[in-house]
């Protein structure tokens, strides 16, 4: 089968696992694990060989396929790519919120702060969500319950996870609300979401996500639903607060500008796979994958001639039902050769030790220097 071929070929090639320290692996036990004993690990989050598939009537959609990455304590990692490339499903998988059915994490390992999350019981997982992993959703307009007050919704996480007396919990809600820049926070606790603007609601969402000092913040396109000025404010807020609380951020975005401004490192995803990863500087100065070139090239520039069409990457991403053993970007790639159609490239090292790309053309013996 095509699939097993691909696996053996991947094993032969040097993969990201080589770069990533593997000490988190020793946590793995065959049985369920609890939250109690956590071995010390270097990285807050290690995702290894994560595959999340959706079992639809049309076939198995391999939305996330063998994704590997790591996130250090306090680090900000970007996950960029176009719609449907698996960014959000990756984040949902980390929080174990993939809607099941139809979705399921079929293989892989997610180690968060020494805990093997895929072996964690549902109750323990619930303990982790909100307390140690905060989640900011794309659309603040629909992510708040219209029938509950802002104060209740921010307090919900605090009541759930922190053993605080009523008074202290209330004080914390007020403090959070003013921290995310809501004026007269105390007066607004009993307001309902419809009394807040979009930007303010996203601030509230941030307050909820950070309410229990999480170690990891999953921000799934936190500014997509907002206009540009509000966008800048919200991003700045996420940045300052994550620095203040020393929270690591996994920032999912399709906006390369945002990734460049916010992140330490960036993963580029395409069709369920990570196709390039590196520090922001490397990735933007010397991308080593035609898809990343296309993404960068499609950004509007100041010296664009007025009236010209914006540049796009021709074509559409492939269907993720039984993808062939070939480079998934090949049908849209201007530089493709036969080998691209015959075998999928592995994620391999480029010039810099933290820079990896999945492309035959930019391999050391490839045809693009």
């Amino acid at each position: 089968m095509a699939h097993s071929d691909e696996r053996t070929s991947r094993l032969d090639a040097p993969t990201i696992v080589e770069v990533a320290p593997t000490d988190a692996r020793r946590v793995t036990t065959p049985t369920k694990v609890g939250l109690g004993d956590r071995p010390k690990v270097d990285k807050l989050l290690s995702v290894r060989d994560l595959s999340t598939h959706f079992f639809t009537p049309d076939g198995v959609v391999q939305a996330v396929d063998d994704v590997n990455f790591e996130l250090g304590y306090g680090e900000t990692l970007g996950l960029v790519g176009e719609s449907g490339c698996g960014k959000s499903v990756t984040a949902l998988s980390i929080a174990r919120l993939v809607p099941n059915p139809p979705g399921r994490i079929v293989s892989g390992e997610i180690v968060f702060d020494g805990i093997d999350m895929l072996r964690l019981g549902d109750d323990d997982m619930r303990q982790l969500r909100g307390k140690e992993i905060g989640f900011i959703f794309q659309d603040p307009l629909t992510s708040l319950n219209p029938t509950l007050t802002i104060g209740y919704q921010i307090g919900e996480s605090i009541r759930q996870h922190m053993n605080l007396p009523q008074k202290a919990a209330n004080d914390r809600v007020v403090e959070l609300l003013s921290k995310v820049g809501i004026p007269r926070a105390k007066d607004r606790l009993n307001d309902y979401p419809h009394q807040f603007s979009g930007g303010m609601r996203q601030r509230v969402m941030i307050a909820i996500a950070l309410s229990c000092d999480p170690k990891l913040l999953l921000a799934d396109e936190p500014t997509t639903a907002l206009d540009v000025t509000i966008q800048a404010q919200i991003l700045e807020l996420i940045q300052t607060l994550s620095q203040e609380f020393h929270t690591a951020v996994l920032l999912i975005t399709h906006d390369l500008g945002i990734a460049a401004g916010m992140c330490d490192r960036v993963n580029v995803m395409y069709a369920g796979r990570i196709v390039e990863t590196g520090t922001v500087d490397e990735l933007f100065e010397q991308p080593r994958m035609p898809y990343a070139w296309g993404l960068l090239d499609s950004l509007p520039r100041l010296d664009d001639v007025r009236g010209d069409r914006l540049r796009t990457i021709e074509g559409l991403p492939p269907l993720l039902i039984q993808p062939p053993n070939a480079c998934r970007f090949e049908p849209r790639c201007r530089f493709s050769r036969d080998i691209c159609r015959e075998q999928e490239p592995a994620l391999t090292l480029r010039e810099n030790p933290l820079h990896l790309a999945r492309c035959w053309a930019t391999e050391p013996d490839g045809w693009i220097a």
């Binding site: 969500r129 659309d139 992510s143 708040l144 029938t147 919900e156």
Partner: protein, 314 residues
């Protein structure tokens, strides 16, 4: 700039307290004249139901045989011998008996809805939230109940339990309440299921999950309050049906036992004299009609008030 800075403090003071869902809905309800009439009549009915015995000039079981004898032996017409609406052939004051009947109708209205809610909401919520096989099983069960002939079921139940403690509780009314409730929770269950099916896909549910809220809390704190409007409407519109069902049962002699009087049994007793003394049928019938119409008006008004988008549509 100067003019702006003077304008700022005024803005800083909160101009108005923004209305919440309920005051908003009440504001809309107040503009609906029919609904207000309904509300007024419902309030009146509640009042008479609660304080009826205090208002009644006579006890519902007192037989004013002296006046009946003086009147010639049959039921007394309205206003005769101090009986506002006359008496039946046993000399029992019709007005007092109507007030007692109001008491029964009010308790039917609320106890039956309580039964319906305690059965319908959990079943609908379980089916809607968990979906899949459980949903399928619960909904097919619901279909069976829906297809089952109501009256037959109620009559069977009351006959089977007639001689037990359960059958005699509350003058034989409790079993009627439970029987009516057992046959009419279907609408509420389907409604709640539909609400949850739609609401559980919303992002705020995902957001609640993402902060570790338990399933039970998501359903009770997040989902049901969002679906409460239609549930209230369904309950209000279900009340006339319950009152009518109780009256029907009382008419055929099931439920409340003499000397207590339900509006249905009053009609049944009165129809023997309908040619000579039509008021014995007329007044209980009017009472039933007014009660049904007032709850229907109120329910329609509540639907428009709680869901303004629906207004004008069915």
């Amino acid at each position: 700039m100067a003019t702006r800075s003077t304008a700022l403090p005024a803005r800083a003071a909160r101009p108005r307290k923004s209305a919440g869902l309920w005051s908003d809905a009440f504001g809309r309800l107040r503009k609906n004249r029919l609904a207000l009439v309904g509300l007024g009549l419902v309030t009146l009915l509640l009042f008479t139901g609660l304080f009826g015995p205090l208002l009644a000039p006579w006890s519902y079981s007192f037989q004013d045989l002296k006046s009946v004898a003086a009147g010639g032996g049959g039921p007394l017409p309205p206003l005769a011998y101090g009986h506002l609406l006359g008496t039946d052939q046993l000399g029992r004051d019709l007005f007092s008996r109507l007030l007692d009947g109001a008491r029964i109708s009010v308790s039917v209205a609320f106890v039956v809805q309580l039964v319906i809610l305690t059965i319908g909401v959990p079943i609908g919520a379980l089916a809607g939230w968990f979906g899949g096989r459980l949903d399928n099983a619960l909904m097919r069960f619901t279909d069976i109940i829906y297809a089952f002939p109501d009256l037959l079921f109620i009559i069977l139940l009351t006959v089977v339990f007639r001689e037990t403690f359960f059958g005699r509780a509350m003058d034989g009314l409790l079993i009627v309440f439970v029987a009516i409730g057992l046959t009419s929770w279907v609408t509420v269950a389907r409604l709640v299921r539909g609400q949850l099916l739609a609401l559980k896909e919303t992002e705020f549910v995902e957001a609640a999950r993402a902060i570790g809220v338990t399933d039970r809390k998501i359903v009770t704190k997040h989902l049901l309050p969002n679906g409460i409007g239609p549930i209230i409407v369904a309950v209000t519109l279900g009340i006339p049906g319950a009152i009518l069902a109780e009256s029907t049962l009382a008419y055929i002699g099931i439920g409340v036992q003499p000397p207590r009087a339900s509006w249905g049994s009053l009609i049944a007793e009165g129809q023997k004299y309908v040619r000579a003394e039509p008021h014995l049928v007329l007044f209980p019938a009017i009472a039933i009609a007014v009660a049904l119409i007032s709850f229907t008006f109120l329910g329609d008004g509540l639907r428009d008030a709680l869901d303004p988008k629906l207004k004008g549509k069915q």
